[in-house]
Amino acid sequence: MRVALLTEGARPYAQRGGPGWSARLAEGLREHEFELYLLAGPAGRGGAADGPAGVQGRFDAVHELPMWGVRPAGRGPAALRRRQYLRAYEQLVRALVMPRERGSFGPGLYRLAELARADGALPAFLASGRAQRVLERAWRSPGADTAAGQPMVRDVLVAADLLEQCLRPLSAPWYGTGPGGLGAADVCHVIGTGPAALPALAAKQLHGVPFVVTEHGLHLREQYAGYREAPYRWPVRALLLTFFRLLTEETYRQAALLTPGSSHDQQWQRRVGADPARTRVVHEGTPAVARPAAGPEPTAPTVVWAGPLEPGRDPALMLHAFARIHAELPAARLLVHGEEAVPGHLAHCEALAGRLGLTGAVEFAGRPASAAEAWRSGTVVVFTALVQRAPLLLADAMLSGRAVVSTDTGVAREVVGPTGLLVPPRDPQALAGACLALLGDEERRSRLGLAGRLRAQERFAVEPVVTAFRDIYLELVSNWPAYPDGRSGTSGQRLRPFARPAEYWMAAGPAGAPAGVGGAVAEERRTPAGAGADAEPEAAAEAKPEALAEVV
């Protein structure tokens, strides 16, 4: 089976979905072909040490599209096609600014995708003055949502620029059924939504390839947080966030299956419109499950806090709680691991510790050699973040076998469950109480630690992820007609393994095919390659070995 992995990542940094997550998946499913389609940062940013070059070996091919930054060179559309472009773009833009016309987002997007696939003139068109005027006209027309301000000229420029960058994947040279084309893939696997989902949406529309969406940390939520601190005016923020929201809704609507990384993310997805029946939580696997448990506890009762030092992680709460612990248990120590993420926050925490009279008992240890090292140095591990979006840091701590105390935010409840103590956020009294209870009870500590380790090993192992996706891919392909539109399959192309599901050849039609497609498939069955309906299984049997040889 050919799986196209679509993801977004800046070259020097890890891809969305975690470093090597997709590489681990490809490693585990060696029976399938994986091709990586990467929306990379602008070319020339840093080295490719951690990027595709490092993981190249695990994929059969890596296709890269420079996103963001300078617009790629290219000419705009010819005069006749330009009118079609303008009409499609206006449809898209009106969906963004008119609350009543949200429904035209999908049609506009797919029309643009078709046009861009044909001549690749989309980026130049979007940057042209005509496109800007279309945007301005739609934006300033009556009925547009400008609750907090009318757009000005500069907003039009900025928004047109941002839209051009976001829509760049539509003009990627990835479509078509040739080698390297998304049309030749059996399944698309999108990791993280946003622009990375655009090629999958277009491939589904153009070639009928189903796609599955994996999200570890919601792209849409990150956009809401990121744009709040962006220097754009309100209309630009509103336009772009609406774009991301509509894009995400369309992605969830079109996706064959959604696999969020946690139930916390699943709630968000449901809120944005995901169908719970097509959602399956697949926890993010970590290779740390193979690590042995941390050794014996340190002699002095030690509380470990780990994470980047920033207000959102609330190290101040830890310090306030530790002041109470220290009053009860003067031998207790606090180890704070992590570097400052917001300039000056370390000094702020140190000053706070000094004011609380904890100077001797608190140690700011900086970055630990490894996460395991950090957990080993403590008796109890504490997390005080105001919100915990990703489960892996918690899971890593649980894997050490130390007892965990965490604030009850985000994913903490589902990750820690009954194997640790959860306290409300911003409550030093409760946190101190929980820590004291654990510090004073060795039996409970070890019991909770062991239970947590087992729980994390069960939920965050790599193997279940691989198994889950093996099943998901097969299920998807078996339920999906290869050529739902009946266009691509009739041209006497070479047949590929899994290009048609087994049910297609055996039964009257795919069992779980969506309604409305079955008719097209049944009709198509009679025609492919000019063969009669009865001769078809034989034709397939002949074609298959040949195709297999081609693959090998």
Binding site: A147, L162, G226, G307, A316, A374, D408
Partner: protein
């Protein structure tokens, strides 16, 4: 809540909330929420306390304004500790608002977030980041954070944030300094080559060609250097980037990865939209080098072709006028950026900018005329024309040093250079280089063809290199001027 009948005069918001759904009626002009106590409801036994009424809340409750769970946008990013952080809020064992409308306090705490939200989901994300989970939402009588956020979105009217301080434009001093430097850097090699040519008249020999190449190289190098240094006058090459995208390598979710225990992996202080170190376009680009070479050719060609001290003096003046062109172009861009910040529509912007180009052209031509006149005056004072002294004094003598064709050629060349510099500063480097190259190529061709029989154009035959310059740069200007008029009226040229 269910027992509170709106008809009996309880808090209107609370009553509407009890019925469920949004509260559209609470949007008031001016964005203020009703602060006064609502009409007392007989059922609730007096006015429902809303807002921070100190007597009504336990002492441990943090003041609403200084609560540490303020909106993230107001979160201090620097070392300054938030006032509330010293005394964290007490636990959630008790409903946050003791009165009938607990959401009001939350609204006050997250006012900026709610006012500027584009979507209830944005408020939900902000509330979650402030530490509110499903449990806290239940205390506000909502099933989850999302419906709480929807209520906040409905109750707080949208209000645009305070306008940011305008981006400081280019200062007068900086612009003048750059113009002076350009003038010097262009006039010096022109003067040097002019001196060589005046000392050795006739067809340029090896020394003349060498001097021309050296002067041209110097001109090109200074142009490249001036255009490659960053400054507010430079058009950004990278455009605008979305935050949170891969340009900003840090994404919130990754704070919680074990391998990122150590802060943020990227340069946190450098935001993606600021002019960061990775912004492309700071390197000298080939087109800038092309501009330098073409400008040098346009300036120096008349010297190579021409003869006579008057022509040499005019070339030096043209070189100095390049500084004026630089000043004018920077001023033009400055004006364009100001209008870009304030114009409402593209049409409005266009009409505002329409008179600016004629003003710039007139300004430049006036300065060019003054400089040329001054150069000729110096020449006349230093080396008067051989022959009997003419009547009318210096003014008259200067006027007779150059004829009308020479003046017209000077004007045409100056205009060509000005338009090229303008286009270069407004992001149309390709057009600028093409125009300059076409002008200088035409001039060179005409100079070479000058002596040929059959090319009996009187302008060329009688006026020599000045005629060639006029015929070469004139058409280029005629094409470039309308083009510049269109292109420089586009708002996209001033980013």
């Amino acid at each position: 809540m269910a027992g509170r009948d709106p008809a009996r005069g309880a808090t209107p918001e609370a009553a509407r909330r009890a019925r469920g759904g949004r509260v559209p009626g609470t949007r008031r002009p001016g964005g203020k929420l009703p602060d006064g106590p609502p009409s007392g409801g007989p059922l609730s036994g007096g006015p429902v306390p809303d807002g921070p009424l100190p007597g009504d809340r336990p002492a441990a409750d943090p003041p609403a304004g200084a609560a540490p769970s303020g909106p993230l946008s107001a979160r201090p990013l620097t070392a300054g500790p938030a006032a509330g952080e010293e005394t964290p809020a007490p636990g959630p064992g008790r409903p946050p608002g003791a009165g009938g409308d607990p959401v009001r306090e939350l609204m006050a705490r997250h006012r900026a977030l709610c006012e500027q939200a584009v979507d209830p989901l944005e408020i939900a994300a902000g509330l979650e980041e402030a530490g509110l989970g499903p449990g806290a939402a239940a205390r506000y009588r909502h099933t989850d954070v999302f419906s709480l956020a929807e209520e906040l979105y409905a109750r707080v009217p949208r209000r645009p944030p305070d306008p940011r301080a305008a981006e400081p434009g280019e200062s007068w001093r900086r612009r003048s300094g750059a113009a002076l430097w350009t003038a010097l850097a262009a006039a010096l090699p022109c003067a040097a080559l002019a001196a060589v040519r005046v000392a050795r008249p006739g067809p340029p020999g090896a020394l003349g060609l060498l001097a021309a190449v050296a002067a041209g190289g110097w001109l090109a190098a200074t142009a490249v250097r001036a255009l490659s240094t960053p400054g507010p006058g430079r058009p950004p090459a990278g455009g605008y980037g979305p935050p949170g995208g891969p340009q900003n390598p840090w994404r919130p979710g990754e704070a919680e990865r074990p391998e990122h225990l150590a802060g943020r992996p990227g340069p946190w202080s450098v935001s993606p939209w600021a002019a960061g170190p990775e912004r492309p376009g700071r390197r000298p680009r080939p087109v800038v080098l092309g501009y330098g070479l073409a400008a040098a050719a346009t300036l120096l060609l008349p010297l190579l072709a021409g003869s006579g001290p008057a022509q040499a003096a005019m070339v030096v003046a043209a070189g100095a006028a390049l500084g004026a062109a630089e000043w004018t172009a920077r001023w033009f861009r400055h004006v364009g950026r100001i209008h870009l910040g304030t114009a409402a529509t593209i049409t409005d912007f266009r009409s505002r900018l329409r008179p600016v180009l004629p003003v710039a052209v007139g300004l430049h031509l006036a300065v060019l005329a003054v400089l040329t006149f001054a150069a000729l005056a110096v020449l006349t004072a230093v080396a008067p024309r051989p022959g009997p002294p003419q009547a009318g004094g210096l003014l008259h003598a200067v006027a007779h040093r150059a004829d009308a064709v020479q003046w017209a050629a000077q004007g045409g060349q100056g205009l060509l250079l000005l338009l090229a510099v303008l286009l270069l500063h407004c992001g149309r480097a390709g057009a600028a280089v093409a125009a300059l190259a076409a002008g200088s190529f035409g001039t060179a061709l005409l100079v070479l063809l000058q002596g040929r029989p059959g090319l009996g154009w009187p302008l060329l035959a009688e006026h020599g290199p000045a005629g060639a310059l006029l015929l070469g740069s004139g058409p280029a200007v005629a094409v470039l001027l309308p083009y510049a008029g269109v292109v420089l009226g586009r708002p996209g040229s001033y980013r």
